[in-house]
Symmetry: C2
Subunit: 944 residues, 2 copies
Amino acid sequence: MLNVHLVPHTHDDVGWLKTVDQYFYGDRNDIQHAGVQYILDSVVDQLIKNPDRRFIYVETGFFYRWWKQQSPSMQQTVKQLVNEGRLEFVNGGWCMSDEATTHYSAVIDQMTIGLRFLNETFGVCGRPRVAWHIDPFGHAREHASIFAQMGYDGFFFGRVDYQDRNRRRKAKEQELLWRASDSLTPPMADLFTGILPNGYNPPAGFCWDQLCSDDPIRDDPDLEDYNVDDVVQRFLRAAKSQALVYKTNHIIMTMGSDFQYENANLWYKNLDKLIRYVNAQQANGSNINVLYSTPSCYLQELHRANLTWSLKTDDFFPYADNSHNFWTGYFTSRPALKRYERISSSNLQSCNQLEVLGGPISRKGLFGQGDSETLRKAMAVAQHHDAVSGTEKQHVANDYAQRLAKGWQHCQVLVSNSLASLTGSSAERIYCDNLNVSVCPLTESSKKFSVSVYNPLGRTVTWPVRLPVNGTAYSVIDAQGNSVDSQVLPLSGATQEVRRNRGFAVNELVFQVQAPPLGYSTYSVSLLQDQPSPSFPQHGAPTVMQNKFLQVTFDPDTGLLTGLSNLETKQTVKLTQNFYWYNASDGNSPESQQTSGAYIFRPNSSTPFMVNSKAKVEHFQNTVVQEVRQWFAPWVSQVVRLYADSKAVELEWTVGPVPVNDGQGKEVITRLDTSIKTAELFYTDSNGREVLQRRKDFRPTWQLKQTEPIAGNYYPINSRAFIKDDVDQLTVVTDRSQGGGSIYNGSLEIMLHRRLLYDDYRGVGEALDEQSEIFPDGLVVRGRLLLSLERPAVAADTHRPLAQEVVSQPLLSFTDGGLSQNTALEFSGLQASLPPAVHLLTLSQWDEESVLLRLEHQFQSWESKVNSQPVKVNLQKLFSTLDVLGVSELNLSANQWKEEMSRFDWTPEKDEKPLLKTFEDPSVWEVTLRPMEIRTFLLRVTLK
Amino acid sequence: MLNVHLVPHTHDDVGWLKTVDQYFYGDRNDIQHAGVQYILDSVVDQLIKNPDRRFIYVETGFFYRWWKQQSPSMQQTVKQLVNEGRLEFVNGGWCMSDEATTHYSAVIDQMTIGLRFLNETFGVCGRPRVAWHIDPFGHAREHASIFAQMGYDGFFFGRVDYQDRNRRRKAKEQELLWRASDSLTPPMADLFTGILPNGYNPPAGFCWDQLCSDDPIRDDPDLEDYNVDDVVQRFLRAAKSQALVYKTNHIIMTMGSDFQYENANLWYKNLDKLIRYVNAQQANGSNINVLYSTPSCYLQELHRANLTWSLKTDDFFPYADNSHNFWTGYFTSRPALKRYERISSSNLQSCNQLEVLGGPISRKGLFGQGDSETLRKAMAVAQHHDAVSGTEKQHVANDYAQRLAKGWQHCQVLVSNSLASLTGSSAERIYCDNLNVSVCPLTESSKKFSVSVYNPLGRTVTWPVRLPVNGTAYSVIDAQGNSVDSQVLPLSGATQEVRRNRGFAVNELVFQVQAPPLGYSTYSVSLLQDQPSPSFPQHGAPTVMQNKFLQVTFDPDTGLLTGLSNLETKQTVKLTQNFYWYNASDGNSPESQQTSGAYIFRPNSSTPFMVNSKAKVEHFQNTVVQEVRQWFAPWVSQVVRLYADSKAVELEWTVGPVPVNDGQGKEVITRLDTSIKTAELFYTDSNGREVLQRRKDFRPTWQLKQTEPIAGNYYPINSRAFIKDDVDQLTVVTDRSQGGGSIYNGSLEIMLHRRLLYDDYRGVGEALDEQSEIFPDGLVVRGRLLLSLERPAVAADTHRPLAQEVVSQPLLSFTDGGLSQNTALEFSGLQASLPPAVHLLTLSQWDEESVLLRLEHQFQSWESKVNSQPVKVNLQKLFSTLDVLGVSELNLSANQWKEEMSRFDWTPEKDEKPLLKTFEDPSVWEVTLRPMEIRTFLLRVTLK
């Protein structure tokens, strides 16, 4: 018997053409017909009608909205459906996250809140066994690793490169075992992975949703057009043909699609008939058995088949659905939103931590009611594969940003409450969210203020602080009462332009701050009267810029970078850097009408235009920072910065408004050309964690026919990319997700901004032409790249902490005037800094008496002699102000006790040896973290 | 309190853009999203959820399809909903019939089968109290009269002339009392009539169907876009504004539209909220109360208000939705379908009668199983306002025709069985359905055959018969063995062309036949060998053509008619007749972009083009018939015929393929211009029954601003139109529904055919450009007009029986070869002819032991000195072969005993005296029919 598992499902984007709430309510159906409240209403009704029927639901962000509007009796009904397996949750995160542009930290968070809701609402029957990413546009290895650690038995998705799919169909390798970490001991990050047969749609001709137009089954012989025989024969053909490209005598068919099942009766009424009539053919010798099923039932049958499965260790990027159709544009699309999401992630971590450290008074305190939940949910929604990906409509992008902003407002109250408690000061706290464009009304006007620097990391960190001011000299005093070296620079013309009347500072005050682990330090700033004007810039480029670690050289004629040296290791590479733009395809090409758009990157030539061969340059040099300010065009400028004690060069780029009055869409990159002999290799991170090797015009698991020499060599960069040879490694740490590639030997390019004039026919229906009230002439985007040059063997010792500091940035808060005397100027929540290898990934309040803790080993097993070692942390000795009364380890998503976690075991075709031995924890309190391991604990705590 | 009655409803066209069965199943949703099976599934589900919810259902043709697929438990559930008034049937006919192009006989039939199904399924709670014609494009007085006689308490519709509506809104006369007969004693044909506020749609902004895009009610304060206050305020405004144009403190809102409620949850979920939130405002002083309701609940409140209502005695034609948008094209659209429907109606009556007369063996006999039900249902469907109206898509028109053809096939078997029983002959019967184009394979080739002429009328009738033959002379012998005068004429070129290779006859055999009431007579025809060729035509027009009743004169130069005389009354009128075409608007006019289309008639000039000022003519004259054959163009020809004993001149027109290669759509008319002094008046029938006076550029109930001098003066002609002055009345009897007008004094024009190149923006989405396999170059249509000239006071004595003979045409059946000796050659089902005033409207089998009988007085009270008198019929002495064992009188639709019929009484503003006294029946058996009365009886019968 060939068993056909029909899986009724709906794919409900948590925002795309409409906002998440518009989708929930079925608002703005003129944009797209979709109303999730009705889908859930309808599916539950239809499940009740026939106990054979099954349904899966995926997006807990929607389910939660619906659930809280239901009556107790309806809730009871739904619980019964879940208990009986008729309604099954799959994936179960708040959303179905994007895989190319998300950071693992936020993905884990969004999965956690979704799965927690299911756990608390439905118990064990509500726990998803299957991960389900049917729509994301390419698949990250780190996602698979995360899913494995969350206890999923398998993973299904719909989109895969067309060449990859063709080979896998022939080889029957559409189902495989993905070994998703090079560091974690198998099967810890092994994930059975299935590529669905029709994306996530039903086979052609069998879509019975109200959104489809396929023939319904017309089985009344008294009416015209009786078609049962035709439908049955067509279905038998479809099933047999599908069975040819899969391994077992079980196949799966996804019976649903985007926002389907709003009127579930249409689907189920016809599926009931299909099952009845197809199975009736068994009496005539048919060997096909159709059944209502779910992905977990299907997976169970695959597992029961006890076969071996091909092993995959790379990832599924980039995704192309045809030869000129590479989905590599969205790696960069909406760079401002991508950055805002990343800042919000950092703010959320600080907010979570301060909620724990400040205790209950954080949520309801001096400054009113605050919460972390609003931002947590906004962040969860922002992980959706049409959110941070940049592939939504403009008004929806605005909604995501607004939610983050609202979430941050709620957090600000919480943070103020918490800091009031920790500092003992009731002074009002002010937050300046526009420091990136040097806007902060307080610092612009105040003669005396303080700035508290909260450090969400588990170790002491030093950052530079830049504050917009109008004074020419300031006194800065640290928590210990020591004076801190500070400097005032004039604001650059580029910054004055990009702030667009939102501030009036003429100068910037720059100084280094330091904050203790999981704690804050407070700096007092006072205007010094009657001081001379700050140093004016020196025109032209310096030949050299240098601190104790690095030397940066420039061409005085062009103003461009020429080289970079590490003074400690005595390495030097040639390094030129410039800005270019690819001319976006407008669809008028003989090979393909594909345009560049929100999803797709398709330059109409492989040679980008240089913005300018020379930069107008001015430079500054003082004891805190050295800056070279480069001006390439009215819409492209950059500051090359070297802080006194930094091991990285900062490139602060400002791009926009990208001019399009020539009718040409532009995709702006910066390119670093070096003397490093890269041999067609470069490296990118996966969701900010493990690093994968990329080779030009090559895919590890199939013979690539390269058809897009640029777009087909682009990969997502979430936190870093690097190029290296035997002696030199140049690592670029980014401040957001971006796309990039290494097209030439020694070269690394990163796409910064995109302004396009055509939709790219993947559904969004808008050109990616960002404008806003502030930027009606086109969005201006600013960002930073941090460059480090190291020996390859030790490079991670620099780039891991560097990237960590960019991801988890300090949270600055300001108070006007002087500080009251009993203010505690410094605080650390930890007893001591964590070891360099350990990242305190999560510390957040779980319920009244417990907190969720995630500790992470942030090095891959091969990255560092020093740091790629198991490391121990004693949980009891962790916190300075919390007594840990009890601890239980959980799976990564915190919806199952670690000890109860039991996953299907799968056999790869050719097994490899475990990369690491397993160590036993010597005690309950002391936990060991191995490279790339994240361990999740529920701690029962009380404030000391 | 202002009470707002929300009436959830769906309007389900029984065919329009899709066929009736495609609509039922939700097939071809690519054409239009609509699936009635799902609507009923969904509504029942939703009604169960909340006992406050109400729904009305209208089209029993759909409900029946759904009902028979339901399980017994679902049927029980639905019965309960009906018993509790939560599901209410309104209208309840098989379809919502068209009012402009239907014949009363077929409308009564379709209402009867729908209402019978409801009666038998649901009993008294299933009986509709309200007639509901929300979509038909203008409203016929005869429909209102029929509805009144069916016992409806009131009637609601949506479409009314925009000028009429404006006046009625101001005068609060959108609700009125319609006195729908000038002959029936009030309140027999009085019908309370309500014009709905928004057509049949909800007020703007409150459409919550899946087909709409209005804002859902977003009442979760935790989500974005909470809008309860906005919705409530908008609704209060809408209700108050509507209340200003109606009389009582109850108003109705139709919450639904075309094929809505497929997912009823969307509507009900939001309506539940609307009711809750709007009524909650009463606590804040709001005086608006919203409730789920039905038209009958609303009507009850209007009745309870005990007001007086304006009285209307004319009709609601023509309908214009704006100044250049007159829906008068569909009066003629699809003339071939309109004719086929009329023929099918006649065939169905014969089939029904022969089922009764032949007894049970008719349904299962010598020639297999036959039935009348298939044709009855096909005819019922064909009455729909997008069926016989001609406003459906071409493929749907084909479906209607195919259903009628299939129905006729089933009837043919029944008729053969019945005639075999009545004649005692087992000879195979052959039916020639293409005699109108002289095609009949049997008569074309047979040397000896017989033809049985079945007469469905209640009196002896004489008709001419024309059979295609290849012989030159035949012997025709009647049932009594007498020779019948017959003549052979050569087939005209026009006919040879229009038959398009479907036959090969070169001649036609013409003779008069006579058949007894409700019976048949058989004629034997034998080819006579060695006879001379038939008379060749004489070229040119005669100056005169004459029989004992009439004289017709021609202009020998032009070949056109010049005059008509009644030789008995010694009347003569000048009469010229010719063919013209209006140039259809293509939308390029400064006043309006309206085109002519399936619905709309809009000539781009008021002056039509003459097809030809002269006709090529040939003529024949023999003892049976005189013919003048006129040829105007390759696409327009006509035969003017005068049979030896006819009181009417026959104009057999053939039009098509209408040439459109000049890019101009054409609307072809024939115009009769006479010397009659019409004083801007003319007369048309209403659904084939009562005649209404029409005046040029005038409406009886409002001050017309005429904006379309031609289209705005067109009215539906269902069976006849006439013009008259004090001395002459020229009546034209048509063979199908057509549009016509009297634009000039003494003139009457009738639109015959339309071929158009543009859609007219009323939804059908196709140009009315009929083509078929047989006529790929454009449809050719043939038809007949019968002209009679009489004194006005007695004209009805001629035109009533004449039209009756056209509507109820004889049914010819043929047998090949000689007849067996014991064949009964003649039969009558009646003991005697009925009086001339009485029409046997219905005789059909009701169940095993009873038959349905309708007797009709077919004269208006003012039409005839002789015939406009009460007339008695004795039911027991009616039939020759049936014993009537019992009789019960019913309402017109046969779903209620007459004595139990009790309707709301309504008071007109100015009452008029009853037109007629009421007579008492002297006995149970003898029944009296008064002018225009139809009486419906259930007879318990047995074959003698």
